[in-house]
Symmetry: C2
Subunit: 359 residues, 2 copies
């Protein structure tokens, strides 16, 4: 049996909100009035209400619902490039835009990118200050997902924001996991967003909706974004399946981010107590972190499978090998964690520690 | 009261499948197994099964589900332009790509367009033969929606297809309403699609799903389309709300297109019997047609409102003025038509005729 299959067979999983099955949508619709009308190419009560709610939550003048963050962010960067008449933006080497979008930004928008900071670090003030000045927009991702969800300290954000405003560089927030970092910063979403000219948040990560994204900024910016949304083919006749799910799960989970954060720290410390296992960051600053093993992928996966079979508890469905030396996987805490009894969890980690020592 | 409000208050509507409300999705989910897993970035059983089913139905090697036709068609044209190394395509002056997409094709793909035929006619063989030869792809829309849903005869399609193959010009089908024209042509979808290199169909027009589109062609073409789908921001983590709805309503309605076609001809003849009213085309060739009035928009709307109030039957929720001289609206026959008793319909048209004479 492979790791994915063994994971699927466990009774309880430690991370996530549970299976992304059709029940996620059925739950939303169960008590929803069938007479309510669909949105219609970006207008109508369902989409307007949610966009207004998100604009208020993010402290921005206006917000637009998009089918995906990929679309929303390319469009944000394009608008800022057009405004400045300069098709160059800066972001982290492991930004979603750089590594997960088949170069859409370059292929569709002809926008060049400047990569800031070493790929294992978050972008700091000095990276921004040293940056050449022919940049229209700087994108910051909070937290930096591909390095375990790391964050700069809040003062760095403030300093970067001030610097960009002084230099006339637009600042865009890749806030795919913005809600998830608010407990660490001890700020409201609006307080963080005030530092940025435009903001994207995902509705299916910590929030756990089905798909979709919000792009927020001032009215002039969001109006332009709607034109580009049409051009991208994202102005669907009906986006309501995603919108009503986003709203439903936002209401359920936006207040639970502090709990997920505390649980992530607890779980990370359990991993860090095991031989040849460590988390990145050592102490999480959101609901997420990466778990690294100084052992080969195949060996680690055999150990994980044996633990799943013995305990019925699943930690991850995959690992990724690193240079044949080690491997890692990502953890994002959600509703599942509190369903696992503490005693059972301790047993899992006792086994993990013992088995890792035997390699 | 305005026309839209009066229309909303009618008990029965003559055109369409009924309200695009949330019930449309609730009906799909009611008997759907909640344990079924979501698609995941273009893979998984739900999306694969439907794509395979559509590929078979269209007689193509492969099919890809897209969030929108706007996205699917720009991508098809881009792929054919890249293959030929020439960013120029040809289509009708009232093509969706030309008038409804905020110039996405030009703004995102830098593709030039050559407009073929007079805007009031469908594209004929002579338009294609006379066309300059620096064209990578010709897009044909069947039926030509903005002129009432007109069609070339089938032999013209065959001739255009042969000509394009001879000249090395790719032929793309805008088949947003392909199923709706099959009864007129008396052909299967696969027979029509065989004439084209790539095909798009919509799943929310005659089929009546929620949103989405299918793009079909050979494997090499669809593989490239998936890369572009990712670039456009259309490769969503979950597209299943659209896919399962498309499948559900395809199963219900794909065999009803002949009925809709016959009903459209019947309804058009009722309109054509009224004073100062005519349909375009005179005899429909699909489930759709336009209704033209040689009277001012405001006068026509007052007449329609009075008919709705007297009979409880609604014909349209809007009209569009033409040059202050006349007005028109679009009709697409769906499930609603057979719910209106023939007697009541005759009463409606008797009133319409009388009132139009009094203007």
């Amino acid at each position: 049996m492979n790791l994915f299959e063994a994971f699927k067979k466990t009774d309880k999983q430690v991370a996530g909100h549970g299976s992304r099955n059709i029940q996620v949508l059925k739950d939303v619709l169960e008590n929803f009035d069938g007479e309510e009308e669909s949105d219609h190419y970006g207008s109508g009560k369902i989409i307007n209400d949610f966009q207004n709610k998100m604009a208020r939550y993010l402290g921005k003048e206006s917000a637009v619902f998009f089918p995906s963050g990929t679309m929303a962010q390319q469009i944000a960067l394009r608008i800022w490039c057009d405004e400045k008449g300069m098709k160059k933006v800066a972001y982290h080497p492991l930004s979603h835009v750089e590594i997960h979008e088949q170069d859409g930004l370059k292929e569709l928008h002809q926008i060049e990118s400047v990569l800031l900071a070493d790929k294992n670090s978050v972008i700091g003030l000095e990276d921004v200050v040293q940056m050449e000045e022919t940049i229209s927009c700087l994108l910051l991702e909070l937290p930096q997902r591909e390095i375990g969800g790391q964050l700069p300290d809040y003062q760095t954000l403030v300093d970067i924001s001030n610097h960009c405003r002084e230099k006339g560089i637009k600042l865009h927030l890749d806030g795919a996991r913005l809600l998830e970092v608010l407990p660490y910063y001890q700020k409201t979403a609006a307080e963080v967003c005030r530092l940025f000219d435009s903001v994207y948040i995902s509705v299916y990560k910590g929030i756990g909706g089905i798909a979709g994204a919000i792009l927020a900024g001032d009215q002039e910016f969001t109006e332009k974004s709607k034109v580009w949304k049409r051009r991208h083919g994202g102005d669907l006749i009906s986006l309501y399946p995603y919108i009503i799910s986003a709203d439903y799960y936002f209401n359920q989970r936006s207040e639970k981010m502090k709990q997920y954060f505390e649980e992530a720290k607890e779980l990370a410390s359990l991993y860090n107590q095991c031989h040849a296992v460590s988390t990145l960051p050592k102490v999480p600053v959101s609901n997420m972190f990466h778990v690294h093993f100084t052992a080969k992928k195949e060996e680690v996966e055999q150990i994980l499978i044996s633990i799943y079979e013995a305990t019925g508890i699943g930690l991850t469905g995959y690992t990724k090998g690193i240079d044949d030396q080690g491997c890692y996987f990502e953890v994002s805490i959600g509703d599942n964690y509190s369903d696992v009894a503490n005693e059972n969890l301790k047993e899992v980690f006792k086994m993990l520690d013992e088995k890792m020592k035997q390699i």
